[in-house]
Amino acid sequence: MKILVPVKRVVDYNVKVRVKADNTGVDIANVKMSMNPFCEIAVEEAVRLREKSVATEVIAVSAGVVQCQETLRNAMAIGADRAILIETDVELQPLAVAKLLKAIVDKEQPKLVILGKQAIDDDANQTGQMLAALLGWGQATFASKVEVAGDVATVTREVDGGAETVAIKLPAIITTDLRLNEPRYATLPNIMKAKKKQLDIFKPADLGVDVTPRLTTLRVDEPPKRQGGVKVADVAALIDKLKNEAKVI
C-alpha cells in the first residue's frame, strides 16, 4: 500500500519570530526555514512502515511556494520515495490545503495519509481532520503509537486525560504527536540520493481546487510583554512575597 505524507515548510522551531513594525504579519525574511517538526515525525513513521514492509511506497507532498521543493527533498532524504509539490504563491489556509490533498489522494489512492498534528507557524491543528472529513475517512489524531495489520490501524492517541486507543478502518488519516518516534538524521548519501528522486509539480488549477483564503488577517500584534520580576534571596523571602505581595498563598 501507498502512504501519503503531507509536509509543511515553516520557520525553524528555534527561531523566535518578530512582529513587523506595520503590524501586517511576522517578519520571516532571512529567517531559517525547516520542515515542520510534526511533519518530520510523520515522514519517519511512514518510512518505518515501509521498512517493515507494511507499505510499499511513501509519497511526500507539499503545497506552497517553490522553495517547498527543499522541504520535499528533505523528506526524500529521510526516506520518502518520491514527491509532489502543489506550487502557489497564494496564502494557503488549512481548508484549501485539505482540498488540494484530497485531489492528490484521489489521484494516488493511498491507504494511509500521515500528517503532523499541527504546524508550528499558524498552530491551527486542522488539516488532517479536514482531509478526513472531505474523504469520508476515519481519523486518529495525536498519535503516539501506530500499528497496522491488514485493513485496520490501531492507534494510541495522546488525549487530555492520558491516552486512548482506537482502531480505524483503512483508508484513514493519522496525525502525529511528539512522542510517536524520533526522526532519523538524513545521511549525506541519502541527501545525495534524494536529489535524484522524482518530484512532480502541479498548480492548484491543475487539480481544480479553489484556494482563495476565507480568513483575512487584519493585523498581527506583539502579545502583551510580561515583565520579568525580581530574584529573591531565599525561600523565606519567596514565601513572604507570595503571601504579602502577590497574595496567592
Binding site: K16, V19, Q93, P94, L95, K117, Q118, I120, D123, N125, Q126, G128, Q129, M130, L131, A132, A133, W137, G138, Q139, A140, T141, T154, R157, E158, V159, D160, G161, G162, A163, E164, T165, V166, A167, I168, K169, A172, D177, R179, R214, L215, T216, T217, L218, R219, V220, D221, P223, G228, G229, K231, V232, D234, V235, L238, I239, L242, A246, V248, I249
Partner: protein, 310 residues
C-alpha cells in the same frame, strides 16, 4: 444569529472547558444553544441547561456517541448546523478532533484557539507559539471556532433555564472503534482548571525525583502537577502533564516552575499565569525572564525548604 456550543462531557456531567466556550459564545451575542452528543447523557444535558446564558440544549442520545468519537460527533453537529451562524468547541483534544471535521463538511474555514471576540466575524488568536496575536476576520457565512479556555471566564453553572430538546441521533460512522483508554487517575485538580500548578522540568533528573520532590509541595498547596516537554519526553511523567505550545495551555493564579529552563514552547503554555515562580540553578535560564519571583538555587534544597515553611 444563534450560536451552537459543542459540549465536552463525560455523559454524566459537563467538562469544565465547556463553560469557557459558553462564555465565548455569549460574547459573540445572540442565543446560545448547547449540543450534547452522548449516550445516556441526560445528566450532562440537564447540567448544560442550568448554565447561565444557555437558552436551549440539544441532546443527541445514542450508542453511536458512547465513546465520543469525532467521526460520529462531527456528523451529529452537521445534522443540526443549519440553524446556526457560529459553531464553537473547546480547544481541547476532543474539540480539536471534531471542529475541523465539522468545518470541512460545511465547506467553511475553522478558526483555532481564539482568545478574544472582537465582533461576530472577527477574532484574535495566537500564532507562532503565542509570540504573535493575529486578528482574523472570516468571510464565511458560518464561523466554526475553537476556544482557548484560559482566555474566557467560565460561565456560571447555575442561573440558566434552557429547555432540553431531544434531536435525532446520527448512525455510528463505523469508521473507527474505541479500543481502550488509560486515563491518569488523580485526586488533584485538573491542570487546565487549577488555581495553583507545580510544574517540573528536566532539572529534576528522573521520574522518581519528580515525584519525591514535587508531590509534597503540590499536596501542601492543593496544586495540580505539570511538566515541561523535556520531562515528558524523558519519561518522568505521562503526556497529559505537558504544559506548552502543543500540550496544555494553563493560566493559574500561581505557577511554580521547578527545574524548567523555559523554552519558548513551554512559555507559550503558561505565560498567562497570574504569578509565576521559577526555581532554577541557572541564573541565565529564560524562565527568569517571565517569572515574577525567581529563586536561583538547588531545587533539591529549595523545594523541601519551601514545603517545610508553608
Amino acid at each position: 444569529m444563534a450560536n451552537l456550543v459543542i459540549a465536552e462531557h463525560d455523559h454524566g456531567s459537563l467538562k469544565a472547558a465547556t463553560l469557557n466556550v459558553i462564555s465565548a459564545a455569549t460574547a459573540i451575542g445572540g442565543d446560545v444553544h448547547v449540543l450534547v452528543a452522548g449516550h445516556n447523557a441526560g445528566a450532562a444535558a440537564a447540567a448544560a441547561a442550568q448554565v447561565a446564558g444557555v437558552s436551549k440544549v440539544l441532546l443527541a442520545d445514542n450508542a453511536a456517541h458512547a465513546n465520543l468519537l469525532p467521526e460520529s460527533a462531527a456528523a451529529q453537529v452537521v445534522a443540526v448546523a443549519a440553524a446556526y451562524s457560529h459553531i464553537l468547541a473547546p480547544a481541547t483534544a476532543y474539540g480539536k478532533g471534531v471542529a475541523p471535521r465539522v468545518a470541512a463538511l460545511l465547506d467553511k474555514a475553522q478558526i483555532s484557539d481564539i482568545i478574544k471576540v472582537i465582533d461576530a466575524d472577527t477574532f484574535v488568536r495566537p500564532i507562532y507559539a503565542g509570540n504573535a496575536y493575529a486578528t482574523v476576520k472570516s468571510s464565511d457565512s458560518v464561523k466554526v471556532v475553537t476556544v482557548r479556555g484560559t482566555a474566557f471566564v467560565a460561565a456560571a453553572t447555575t442561573g440558566g433555564s434552557g429547555a432540553v430538546e431531544s434531536v435525532a441521533a446520527v448512525a455510528d460512522s463505523g469508521l473507527s472503534i474505541f479500543v481502550s483508554a488509560e486515563i491518569t487517575k488523580s485526586e488533584r485538580p485538573e491542570l487546565t482548571a487549577a488555581k495553583i500548578i507545580v510544574s517540573g522540568g528536566r532539572g529534576l533528573g528522573s521520574g522518581e525525583k519528580y515525584r519525591e520532590v514535587l508531590t509534597p509541595l503540590a499536596d501542601k498547596l492543593n496544586a495540580a502537577m505539570g511538566a515541561s516537554r523535556a520531562a515528558v519526553d524523558a519519561g518522568f511523567v505521562p503526556n497529559d502533564y505537558q504544559v506548552g505550545q502543543t500540550g496544555k495551555i494553563v493560566a493559574p493564579d500561581l505557577y511554580i516552575a521547578v527545574g524548567i529552563s523555559g523554552a519558548i514552547q513551554h512559555l507559550a503554555g503558561m505565560k498567562d499565569s497570574k504569578v509565576i515562580v521559577a526555581i532554577n540553578k541557572d541564573p541565565d535560564a529564560p524562565i527568569f525572564g517571565v517569572a515574577d519571583y525567581g529563586l536561583v538555587g538547588d531545587l533539591f534544597e529549595a523545594v523541601p525548604q519551601l514545603v517545610a515553611a508553608l
